[in-house]
Every structure is written in structure tokens, then in C-alpha cells.
Symmetry: D2
Subunit: 186 residues, 4 copies
């Protein structure tokens, strides 16, 4: 059945790898998929979905202005969207309608929350209306499930404030369990 799926995880769980595998599975059967990832700026252009397993492929990019309806012209068997936390709520709503009115499954991959524990706008809309929510798991350094993300500066100190998205900085991110997120240890 054609539905809107949201596969969410903390960072480095393997979201992009899973997206590339799903694309492979469709194409192996001779079906067309359309792949999007977030553009780094407001202009639509060409992007790449790349996995830490060293697999990558080109993808369309979306900006807040992108309409996904044009995608239907290529009659895709599936629409795959990486970095879906950067969708606008209106785009999520468009994708939801599109999956039900045009019978094309849409699979979105993304984070739930930023380094402050605040939900991304696109993710909140996906969590609210996606037909199926599927968690992809990764682990904290303590071995328990990591569901939160923290940000470190270039010296390895944890940062609690700042913009949700930092382009071109030296920050690093770590997926952690809630104990480490709240108390700093686990």
C-alpha cells in the first residue's frame, strides 16, 4: 500500500545506507525511484546520498521551495528522501497527500531532534502524520540505545546553545542515550 513512512534515528545509525539499499531493491526489479537529499542552501541543485560504508550516488536536492509533485512525471515506484528533518511542514503534508492520492510510497529518513533535544520542524510534522514510524537503532558509547544527539566544539567540549544547523563549522556530533544527554554520563 502506498504510504508515507518516516524512518527516524539518531546520527550514524545507517539511514543513508538503508535508503541506498531500498533504491537498489526497487531498481533491481526494473522500477524507477526518485531520491532527494537536503540542499545546503536555498537553491535546488545536485546532491549526493553517501553512506559511511563507502557507497554513494547522486540525488536531487530539495530546498524549502521544492514541490515534489513534479516528481510524478517520471512515474516512480518509490520516492526516497534523505535528511528529511529539513523538509518544511507544508512539504511533509504535500508528500502525505501525494502518497495517498497518487499511490506512490514515500520513505523519509531523518533525525528527530537536534543537539538541544528540540524537534526539527519537518520531523515533528512527519512524526505527527506519517502512516508508519520506524525506528532505526544505533548505540550510545555505553552500549544502550542512543536516541539523542549532542554537539561538541573543536576541543571536544559539549555545546548547549547555538543555531540548530551549523554550516561549515568544526563541531562534531555524537549519538547518546538519554542518561548521557541529561546527566553527562551513562
Amino acid at each position: 500500500m502506498s504510504k508515507l513512512y518516516f524512518r527516524y534515528a539518531a546520527m550514524n545509525a545507517g539511514k543513508s545506507t538503508n535508503l541506498l539499499q531500498v533504491a537498489y531493491n526497487y531498481e533491481e526489479r526494473g522500477q524507477v525511484v526518485v531520491i532527494y537529499t537536503a540542499g545546503l542552501d536555498d537553491r535546488a541543485g545536485r546532491g549526493v546520498v553517501s553512506s559511511r560504508l563507502d557507497v554513494e550516488r547522486p540525488a536531487r536536492t530539495f530546498s524549502p521551495e521544492t514541490s515534489f509533485a513534479e516528481t510524478l512525471a517520471s512515474r516512480p515506484a518509490c520516492i526516497l528522501i534523505d535528511e528529511a528533518q529539513f523538509l518544511t511542514p507544508a512539504q511533509v503534508r504535500e508528500l502525505h497527500r501525494l502518497s495517498h492520492e497518487h499511490r506512490v510510497p514515500v520513505i523519509c529518513y531523518g533525525l528527530r531532534t537536534d543537539f538541544r533535544g528540540a524537534g526539527f520542524a519537518g520531523s515533528l510534522e512527519l512524526l505527527a502524520i506519517a502512516d508508519t514510524l520506524e525506528e532505526m537503532k544505533t548505540i550510545c558509547r555505553c552500549g544502550r540505545k542512543a536516541t539523542m544527539v549532542i554537539r561538541h566544539d573543536e576541543k571536544g567540549e559539549r555545546i548547549f546553545d547555538g543555531a540548530q544547523v551549523q554550516v561549515g563549522g568544526n563541531e562534531t556530533y555524537e549519538s547518546v542515550c538519554p542518561s548521557r544527554f541529561y546527566r553527562g554520563s551513562c
Copy 2:
């Protein structure tokens, strides 16, 4: 492991029944549970969790001012919260910390979205940070999974506008599939 769970569903899926079953399971083993449901107004008082299967029991009520930390005094094995869509985001955050820092599982039951398809504030926070999201299913009149809710006036006409919560009105609600939500048919 002690975690914050969000068991979400459209209306009439059986959320309250499940809550009452979980309470029974704990108590059958001689363990204490604390049950909350939403108060109808801003004053905390006494409430009831009732199931359409004709089972019910008294519950504490929460208002936006309720702090759940006091609950720990009774050393509960589990905290159960019905109508969790009415929690404030700050309360959800408190419950998340509490489940991890005081090792008590917290299970919240609630709707994701209102009759306009907009997320409830408490639900959005639960969807963003709960450790485990579990869907409880119900069906649309077409037999497919119902994930959305629509509101009808007393004449059975669908209403698209109005307050998120209507106290004391004659409106009725129906759980529907996304096709019926968007197009009015399925």
C-alpha cells in the same frame, strides 16, 4: 529498562483498555502503579480512566501545573498517563528525565493529531523524545488503518475549523484513513 513510552493511536483504538490491562498486570504481581488522566479544567482533581469495554477505575488528574516528581514518593513500578496529548512539552521533558534518572518506566497514551491534522503540543514532544513509539491500530470505515481524526457537528457535517478541544459541545469524532481525511472518501 526504564524508559518513556508513547503509545499513540487515533480515537477509539483501545488506548484506555490497554492502560487498564498494564495496570492490572503490574498489580497482579504486587507492584504499585500510578495512573493519571487529563483534568477537564485547570484544577487538579479526581478523574476516571474508562474503557469502551466497560471497565474503569479512578485516576489522578493532571493539569498544566502538575509536577510528576511527587509521584515518586509512592515508589511506583510504573507511571501510566492517559490523554497524554494534553501534557505540556515541559511535562513530557520532566517525565523523560524522571524515567531515566529514577528508573521508573512511564507509559503515555494519546492521540497524535487533532481534527485538523495538527499535532497536539504534548504529543509532538512525546514523538520527538520518547524512547519508544508504539502504534495502536484501529480501522477506518473502509477497513484500512485509521491514522487521522475528523470532527462532525451535531447534524453529521464535517467541521474543518474551531478550537482544538471543545468541552461540552455536541461534536462527534471519527477515526479515518488519510484518503478520507484529505478527499472525504475512501
Copy 3:
């Protein structure tokens, strides 16, 4: 979509309550459901599905000779089967075909394993071919998830041997975590 579902759990998780809730949800919409539970002997007769929450209703019973195809005559919107671990593998296969060829969802509720940790024949077939496997959780006395079952004699001593099903005895059962199952403590 019409599928064969297996909702499995250890004992006392709330399987029968869930079945009764699903039946209620369908009937509330004016749809017909057919409910079966296992007969205590080889003759088909009348049975009861009863929940520890003190809700119950009559049900058809199945024996190893029961054919479920006759059920289609009443044009059910859903077929619900309690104690599904007692189905024969051939009956599971019949239900699987029936759900796909006649477009009626079939929801089976049952245990996975007996007090020795051995799978029930009907459950193994359900686990192998059901379209959707859904776990219903209950807890061990230690608070962790219980996935196994142990049997005690009338003095409370654990029993390791004996028939898979004991009719009319004084044995009691307890749902436990794997640690308690293997080591006797948790």
C-alpha cells in the same frame, strides 16, 4: 490490506483483552467479526473468550478438524482467533491462504513457547508465515520483559517435564524473563 497477523506474548499479557477490543472496534462500525478459541477437547462446541479485566463473550471453538473456510459465509470483516498456539500447521496455512485469497484479515493471538521453552506447533507455523508478527509485552517479577513461561506444581516447585498441555491439573504458570527461565533467578 488483508493479512494474517500473529500477536504473540507470554501468559497474562492481555491477549484476550486485545481481541475483545478489536472485536468491539469492528462491531462499533457495524461490521461482522467471527471469533474462535481453542476447544478443550476434540469436539467443536461453544467456548468463551475471557479477559482478566472481567470482560468476556462467547466464541466458536476450533478443534484440529475445524475448517475455517465455512466462516466466509457470514462475510466477516475480520476473523479473530484466541489460543492460536493450538491450531495445526495445516490450519495456519489455510488461514494464510484465506486472508489473501478472500481478502479478510485474520488476527491470531497466542503463546510462542510452552513451559519447557519449546514452540507450539501452531505458533511455529504462524511465526514462519504470518504476514505481520506483533509482540504484546508483559513483565517478569524483576520488571524486565517476560518472554518465556515456567510451570509450577501445587507446592510452588518448578516443573521441567511433562505434557505440553495439562488439562484439569493444579499447575500454575508464570511469565518470566530469560534469566529466570535459564538460571532460576533474575
Copy 4:
């Protein structure tokens, strides 16, 4: 928590890719994993886990005689087993105890059923006692979820009989939905 997981799917869903991703995630954190895949014959030797995304790495192989307890000497953070349908039931039981008594998570990947729809012995034991069952999805040529597998001979004719495992033959396999499995069309 250390548990025995069974991630099951029809063929070509991406099981090996997921295994390689999990291994990467652990090793990225400086933790040790042990990877096994099935040996093609009865002698333990060296094997390879390879993904259709063109990623691969060496793995230990297991035969029906392999004991997994020796694995603990290397103090793994996780044990990963590909082609787990070829485990013996006794090996599955050993892995279950090991995960709970030695607190090491064990993640098994495998098929549920063969081309005749019959469960593999190792898979049936995993389905019966694994602590967590997780489905990995792939699609039938009709676009619906594929849960069954069929075998074709070198001319593309479907084969209904024969050995469960065919080594060195020219047969090919296809993951299909139950409609195609039972009726030959979908």
C-alpha cells in the same frame, strides 16, 4: 540490554548490508564485534559477508558443530550472525543463554522459510525464543511486501519440490507476496 535479536526477511531485503552497518557502528566506537556466516560445508573455515551494495568483509563461518562460547574470549560488544537460518536449534539455544548470561547482544539475520514455504529449523527456533523479532522489508514485483520465497529452474520455471538447500545448482530465487506464492500471480 543484552538480548538475542532475530532480524528476518525474504531474500534480497538487505540483511547483509544491515549487518555490515551494525558492525561499522560498533567499531567506529572502538568496540569489538564478532561476525559469523554459514559455511558451505561441514568444516569451519573462512567466509565472507557480502552485500549487493558491493560492500563485503571476512567473517568466521559456522557449521552445525560450532560452539559460540569460544567467541567470548575476545570480549565482543556484539555477535553478528548472517545466514542464521542454518543454525541448529541447539545453537540458537546456546546463543540465547549466552546473550543473557554473559551480557552480550547477539543479532541474527536470516530467512524465515524456504521456497516451499517451510520454516528453516534454525529460524523456527529463533522465532520461538528470540527476545526481539524485527522484520526487514522487501517488495514483490507487484510492489507489496514480499514475505515468501519461490525457486525457479534455469529456464525460469517455478520449482515446487527438491532439497531445502541446493549447492552449486542453477536455480534462482525470488521474493514474492503471499498471493504470488499461492496463486502464481499478484
